[in-house]
């Protein structure tokens, strides 16, 4: 599978990146070289292997997978602190450029 400029544009769009012309060319070249290396995974027989998403899945001694906490209210970040680091805020909400044009 060879990555083309069309793939780069498609993936950049999914990833919310714009990328300059130079960056797009560079990424096309890099992704092709990395994926060519990754393609060796195809030679491994994984027909009876369950995918491992978390370390707890493989049953290390005494470890319960994904413990759930009690569904109780806990303290959360005070509102003013939650918005304090925002690039633009009116103190209550985050401000962003207009979403709907008319």
């Amino acid at each position: 599978m060879k990555i083309t400029q069309k793939d780069v544009s498609y993936v950049a769009n999914l990833a919310n990146l714009e990328l300059t012309e130079t960056e797009r060319l560079r990424i096309e070249k890099d992704l092709n070289s990395i994926l060519e290396y990754v393609d060796q995974l195809a030679e491994v027989d994984t027909s009876n292997v369950a995918p491992m998403a978390q370390v707890s899945q493989i049953g290390a001694a005494g470890v319960a997978a994904d413990p759930l906490r009690a569904d109780e209210l806990r303290d959360c970040l005070p509102h003013e602190q939650a918005v304090a680091a925002a690039p633009q805020t009116d103190g209550t909400f985050f401000r962003v450029p207009k979403v709907i044009e008319r």
């Binding site: 950049a12 990833a15 990146l17 491994v44 292997v49 978390q54 493989i58």
Partner: protein, 490 residues
Amino acid sequence: MPEDLDLNVLTVSSARAAVQERQTTAQALVESFYGKIEAEDRQPGQINAFLNLTRERALQQAKRMDAIVDKGNPLPPLGGVPVAIKDVMVTRGIRTTAGSKILGNYIPPYDCTAVSRLEAAGAIILGKLNCDEFAMGSSNENSAWGPVRNPRDLCRVPGGSSGGSAASVAAGTAVAALGSDTGGSIRQPAAFCGVVGLMPTYGRVSRYGLIAFGSSLDHIGPLTKSAKDAAIILRHMAGRDPMDTTSVDLPVPDYEQEIAKPVRGLRVGVPKEYFPAEMDSEVRESVEAGIKLLERAGCEVKPISLPHSKYAIPTYYVVATAEASSNLARYDGVRYGYRSPNAKTLAEMYRRTRDEGFGAEVKRRIMLGTYALSAGYYDAYYLKAQKVRALIAQDFLNAFKDVDAIITPTTPTPAFKLGEKSDDPLAMYLADIFTVTASLAGIPGISVPCGNSKEGLPIGIQILGRHFEEGTILRIAHAFEHARVSAAVH
């Protein structure tokens, strides 16, 4: 500050003792460290390990420690020990950038659990340490704030991504440091700079407040001058944290007692896959000599095989980048961090913020990860890599039926030159070839200095252990340090 207190050799125990026994005050000790940082780290061409000095917070904590000593009370276990923190761990009220422009002015509203636990045990936070952007890199050249230089040779990289952490400990500008390890980012720089670096078991130390890269692979751990220091620090930050559901509720042993136990009779495996024919001959000789020392100390050395090792790098770069592409979606210029001023619409704002805020390697990994997760490629790449990951983990579980620990080189070569690999991402990724396997399996690993190349560059030996058996690898590391000292004497 008494003349006989050499900051370069100060350890966790000796720093605490110096304050407790009034050889110095914690405040004077902190000022000496800041003096050393100003003299050796901050000028152009110097090490550049520190991004930010947290003087006010450090001196407040130092005052608290001095007051304890003044009252004649014993200091807490890390009382008065000056440490520094990789800038991927958030610190309340203190700028935290993850080495990225996109978080250039970010002031977090809370503390990382590992950091607050060290402070609760008396440690003094000197400042925040440089690293590769979002911990993505093996040379610290991907920092938005300039590369870190290796204190052992300023023309060379310190390794990465915890390059500032390893460099500060090696330079003696901090007694110990915290780093993070996703594919080798504690152990590889520890090897390059000639210090000890411990990646604990996944789940042993809370990740709360660690800026996420690959959540199923991210670990926090200490970089120190000795295995004993790593043991002390691990004990005081390990354990269940309700804020991280993957942190595990297991008892935390007293690792200082663990390391004092004898290593005689322990079985250590040497995997043939980690000694390929083409490997650097100085690294091979140094690590093989290290294995002989362990044998002489009473360990039983056994050849073993970890057959899926060769697939670890491709597996890692699919799993880690897929997780990264998802984790880094949060940087959109809305809630915190940088926002591009050059956008009129919301969609433009997202894109330009990310285009202008992220560096080249981070964009490359977001693109790779997004591709691996995209429709039509998910099964071929992401799902396939998760299955091979299971096989790599199974290799270790099988091996640990016959051995108590596994010994390998930490890196294929000693530290390379600045710029040497920065234009070839694949060559850079291969710097992690011996460290990614443990990250994928979630087992603990430690790198300990085991020798020097002819050019005087440090070489590291890696010791891997069973899940949650940090005590065993720390014990072997500690015995190894002693064996090296007595071998040098005789």
